[in-house]
Amino acid sequence: GDQVEQSPSALSLHEGTGSALRCNFTTTMRAVQWFRKNSRGSLINLFYLASGTKENGRLKSAFDSKERYSTLHIRDAQLEDSGTYFCAAEGGTGGYKVVFGSGTRLLVSP
């Protein structure tokens, strides 16, 4: 079945630094979405991409369907960026199926 491998599972950053999260897909996906989970467990939409890149403030995401991956770059990390980030991909074998990655727990420290 369709699989999404998300890495790293945990990430620690100092304020002002940056890094990238990555999701690899075992099959060709049509689109990817990135979320941040807030303290209550709600999923906050960050990006939806069917191709290419999108940028919003200090976040930038890229999706390459052919190479089967997506990335989420965080630059100039702030304390409020801490949380768990998920990618979710759709496509592959099931038209309505959306498969989630296992999440990246980000901790930004002073």
């Binding site: 979320f35 709600s42 939409n45 099931g94 309505y96 959306v98 498969v99």
Partner: protein, 112 residues
């Protein structure tokens, strides 16, 4: 603007008791609707999806059922809860395939 509302916010239920979780989407006609579940420490799994009233497809079998009695309503239920049903349940909607998915705030279920 579209809004999605899930109820209840949280629930503690006994093993073997029935369950009904609700989800309502306002401001959007004929949305695609989804139920997701996340066990504590686990990955979000898609349980059901529905593209139209009265039509529900199962993705993962967890001894749960779903129904869509109205265009804007999606119900998740079971007659007998298991301990393994504990977790966080999320309802989601989108306009159609290949568009952004929007999630509700979720229901935290504890089965004891």
């Amino acid at each position: 603007a579209q809004t999605i509302h899930q109820w209840p916010v949280a629930e503690i239920k006994a093993v073997g008791s029935p369950l009904s979780l609700g989800c309502t989407i306002k401001g959007k006609s004929s949305p695609n609707l989804y139920w997701y579940w996340q066990a504590t420490g686990g990955t979000l799994q898609q349980l059901f999806y529905s593209i139209t009233v009265g039509q529900v497809e199962s993705v993962v079998q967890l001894n749960l059922s779903a129904s869509r009695p109205k265009d804007d309503q999606f119900i998740l239920s079971t007659e007998k809860l298991l301990l393994s049903h504990s977790g966080f349940y999320l309802c989601a909607w989108r306009d159609r395939v290949n568009t952004e998915v929007f999630f509700g705030k979720g229901t935290r279920l504890t089965v004891v």
